[in-house]
């Protein structure tokens, strides 16, 4: 039942998976990728592992999975006896999926801004920041409504993989020149998330809270 993660410390997408492995208390083997400057994820060898040339990739029992969101689903599905990280009831399952897609979709504009500012990726930075702000606002409005309803998490009364998937690129916004000033509900949600037992910070997210 060995788990292996193709990992890079500075990747927010890999961080989603590391967080989840940590929350579930799972041991894993880490395959260190030289993402930058080595661009090992684009090497022919790695393309055999993931033709998309992206990390993270997780292997377990002959299963090979790419895409952080898919990996979170797999981990919760296989290793979370409580069922709370990926609730199956109709009231929560759909919304969790919806925010998971948002994390892998709209929110990735914040990842693009970060890759531009920190690692010099060539892309339209103003466009990336504009899209990231629009995504942050959608989540902030949602979490404001949740605050009004007396709730703290994106879906339901406990943290789910939707929170895990959304957290990294919201928290790492500053790395892409995006401040948290305009998102009070996001700030409160992030603080609650960082105070979860077994939470681990990564570079770009201060250790102390």
């Amino acid at each position: 039942m060995a788990i292996r993660l193709y990992d890079y410390s500075l990747s927010g997408s890999c961080y989603k998976v590391r967080l989840m492995l940590g929350f579930l208390g799972l041991e894993y083997e880490r395959v260190q990728m030289n993402f930058y400057p080595g661009r090992q994820h684009r090497s022919p060898e790695f393309r055999e592992i993931n033709p998309l040339g992206q990390i993270p990739v997780l292997e377990e029992d002959g299963l090979r999975l790419r895409d952080a969101q898919a990996i979170l689903c797999h981990l919760a599905n296989s290793h979370d006896a409580s069922g709370e990280w990926l609730p199956r009831d109709a009231e929560r399952f759909g919304p969790v999926m919806m925010w998971l897609m948002f994390a892998g979709g709209e929110l990735m504009a914040a990842s693009a801004a970060r890759l531009h500012d920190a690692l010099g990726y060539e892309l339209d930075i103003e466009e990336a920041r504009r899209k990231a702000r629009a995504a942050f606002r959608v989540l902030d409005d949602h979490l404001t409504a949740r605050e009004i309803a007396g709730a703290r998490w994106i879906v339901g009364d406990t943290p789910t993989i939707a929170d895990v998937a959304c957290f990294p690129y919201v928290a790492l916004a500053g790395d892409g020149g995006l401040g948290h000033e305009e998102y009070p509900a996001l700030r409160n949600w992030m603080r609650d998330f960082r105070r979860l037992p077994r939470f681990r910070a990564m570079s770009g997210i201060p250790e102390f809270i």
Binding site: I148, G179, H180, E181, A185, R187, P206
Partner: protein, 224 residues
């Protein structure tokens, strides 16, 4: 609208400043750290540590002290530095002090002014402090004057006229039972924050609906 430095400005909802948290706020281009100890009221400081300039909104709270994230210097609620971890036995000189701004929590809103003196108008008097419910804060990508104008002409549903209770705060009555107060906070030339609270027997139950209408107002202003 440029912010008169001696004018009290609402900069956050008290309800949204968690216990043991430090938060970044921009007022008229000035970066502020708005923080609360594990208990006690919200404080407004310059967002800059006297040591090496790190923003104190990145700091962490222990008890009623704010600690800078960079080297862990510890500040008391009056701004005085209490401890320097690099020199655990040293009593920090009195000269090491974070810059503070006056702050008042009234009607569920945290107010501050950049001019620390007692010049300028008092906070608007809207009667007793109790009974105000938070609605929400909004951040509009537009200058303060068009936002103010839109606010004066807004429709929050079956309302009376909007009237200004201060240069930067407006109140509107929605039926006899519900009053909404909106503080207008110029962040810079392009961004304006609104902090809304409501009062009356229906305030709590109407909160979600009011929040949605304010979001609509925000989106309408930005589209204009």
């Amino acid at each position: 609208m440029s912010v008169a430095r001696e004018l009290w400005t609402g900069v956050a909802l008290d309800d949204q400043i968690q216990a043991a948290s430090s938060n970044p706020v921009i007022l008229d281009g000035q970066a502020l750290a708005v923080w609360r100890g594990e208990e006690g009221p919200v404080r407004v400081w310059e967002d800059r540590c006297p040591h090496r300039g790190m923003r104190l909104s990145f700091g962490f709270v222990r008890g009623e002290t704010l600690r800078c994230i960079y080297h862990g210097w510890t500040y008391a609620t009056d701004g005085q530095c209490l401890a320097i971890p690099a020199h655990p036995t040293l009593a920090p000189p009195k000269t090491i002090c974070a810059s503070t701004y006056p702050s008042e929590t009234r009607y569920g809103i945290v107010w501050t002014k950049l001019d620390g003196g007692s010049n300028g108008a008092a906070l608007p008097d809207l009667g007793p402090d109790e009974g105000w419910e938070p609605v929400r804060s909004l951040f509009v990508h537009a200058a303060a004057s068009p936002v103010l104008e839109a606010l004066l002409n807004c429709d929050l549903g079956q309302q009376g006229p909007v009237h200004m209770v201060a240069e930067n705060a407006a109140e509107v009555e929605i039926g006899p039972e519900l009053r909404v107060l909106v503080a207008v906070h110029a962040m810079d030339d392009e961004r304006t924050a609104l902090h809304a609270v409501a009062r009356g027997p229906r305030a709590a139950s109407e909160r979600a609906g009011l929040a949605r209408r304010l979001e609509r107002l925000r989106d309408d202003i930005e589209r204009a």
